[in-house]
């Protein structure tokens, strides 16, 4: 470090070496600490559950009838060995992935069209705004009436659930685009198609991804509910079956399965999103550690 040349400079100088020496450590330790914290919080929740049920706690909330964590783990291990478990799991997954994929494509297309075209906005806007507040699960009767099979009905409900968040966030993101990007492409001789591909879709992508994240979550809620009501097979169907035959550990296995699958799919969406929007300027404190810049940025 060079000698300070003025009194103004000499002030931050003594702090800087300390900050610099300290900087690498939290950087290396932080992910480690964070994973420990995460695992710890999960284990603590399990431990609480286990002790509440083992002690048959009955303080207004009653845990006497509750299956214990170990019961559920045992049941889980049993089910993992059965073909039915995996069949249910793939049934639910294929329903949600089909519904979600359709919702993603149509949601982005319709949202973009509404944002870009006053005509489309006038034609589709009112219908969509009336349909939007209807909870997707309330469409079960409609689905039963319209579709020849339950399977399609469930996919339809899943689709509807994810469609609206995707469509609405796409619409907002497209409307919020800086006009200068589009004008730049126009002055280069680009037409509508070029503007769509080179400006509108990439520019709206961060907003669209927000909608996709919300959408995949709502999709799970709806696919499980729809399976409970009208399904044949699937995780939701199985969970409800277990409840009707008073197999509480089975119910918990179903719930855990839904939780893990939901978490995996939303993580997949998040990760895909982060890969696609790496161009976004991120604040250095919340983004992935970027040592070179981070050091310079710490005061």
């Amino acid at each position: 470090m060079s000698a300070p040349t003025s009194s103004l400079r000499s002030r931050p100088a003594p702090e800087a070496p300390g900050a610099r020496a300290a900087a690498p450590r939290p950087l290396r330790r932080r992910p480690w600490v964070r994973y420990t914290l995460r695992a710890g919080s999960l284990l603590a929740a399990l431990g609480l559950w286990q002790s509440l049920t083992a002690l048959d706690v009955n303080l207004w909330l009653r845990f006497a009838q509750f299956p214990s964590a170990t019961d559920v783990v045992r049941e889980f291990a049993d089910r993992l060995g059965t073909g039915a478990y995996w069949q249910d799991l793939t049934d639910s997954l294929s329903r949600i992935l089909t519904g979600f994929a359709l919702a993603a494509v149509l949601g982005v297309a319709v949202g973009t069209a509404i944002a870009r075209s006053p005509l489309v906005s006038d034609l589709l806007g009112p219908v969509l705004e009336v349909c939007r507040p209807i909870p997707a699960i309330a469409l079960v009767p409609v689905a039963i009436l319209m579709f020849p099979s339950n399977e399609q009905g469930i996919v339809f409900i899943t689709f509807t659930a994810a469609f609206f968040p995707v469509m609405v966030s796409t619409r907002h993101a497209v409307r919020a685009l800086a006009p200068v990007w589009e004008e730049a492409v126009l002055t280069m001789g680009g037409g509508r198609g070029r503007v769509l591909v080179s400006v509108v879709l990439p520019g709206a992508l961060p907003g669209i991804l927000g909608g996709l994240s919300v959408g995949i979550g709502v999709s799970w809620i709806c696919v499980i509910s729809a399976e409970m009501i009208s399904g044949a097979y699937g995780v939701g169907y199985r969970t409800w079956q277990d409840y009707t035959i008073v197999d509480y550990p089975g119910v918990f296995v179903g719930m855990t399965t839904i939780g893990v699958l939901g978490w995996l799919t939303s993580t997949a969406v998040e990760l895909a999103g982060r890969r696609l929007t790496r161009w976004l300027p991120r604040t250095e404190t919340t983004g992935r550690p970027a040592p070179a810049r981070k050091e310079a940025a710490t005061p």
Partner: protein, 263 residues
Amino acid sequence: MSTSDVTTTAAAPTAEAAPPGVRLRLADTALGRPGAPVLHGLDLEVAPGDILTVVGPSGCGKSTLLRTLAGLLPALGGRVTQDGTPITRPHADRALIFQEDALLPWRTLRANVELPLAIRGVPRAERRGRAEAWLERVGLAEHSGRLPHRVSGGQRQRAQLARALVGEPRAVLMDEPFGALDAQTRAGMQRLLVEVLQGTRATVVFVTHDVDEALFLGDRVALLGGAEGGGRVLDIPHPRERAAHDAAATVALRRQVLESLGM
């Protein structure tokens, strides 16, 4: 437009036989947004290959003029033409360098500079070479793979310059393109611009706040929104040639411009 000779060495993209500049003309035009005109009765002509510099106080309508010439903003009245044909929409013939940062933030500098060529359907390998050559000319060779928010404001301006010139437009409309540059880099960019334009013979309308820059670059200088506040245009014939020969003439010219601006 000639397409057979575009594969000449990437290091000298302007050496080829470029199409000549266009004649831009505004005849008794009113410019501005509907309901909010900013310039009235404006008459202006830029001959092919000429550099017209435009100076005037902030808010007088310089950017409005460029947007109208680009075809992004319809004139409220009068005729705006390119080689006698009315300008109604943007065209790749007339490149616009925006006052604000108009690089696409999700594209690297190179991908930004490639964009006009991609729109025109230039094959990938060739447009990459031409973009790299242009980035090198504006001194950004080692930053070509960076995203716009990872470079400085002046570097972004230079990338915009490269993006505007790479497609060899017949007219270049520049809105304070060197505003964020230090005096030295600015002088370098001015020299580069003059050199490039000697090659391409493109017509240029160059907006600047800097009277000296206006005098150095311009074949003629237009003064918008002078002391009268109207849309008056004062043409000063060939200040650059005079200035080059005669320091006293430059000083006189400078005073004349400043006086016209009410300073």
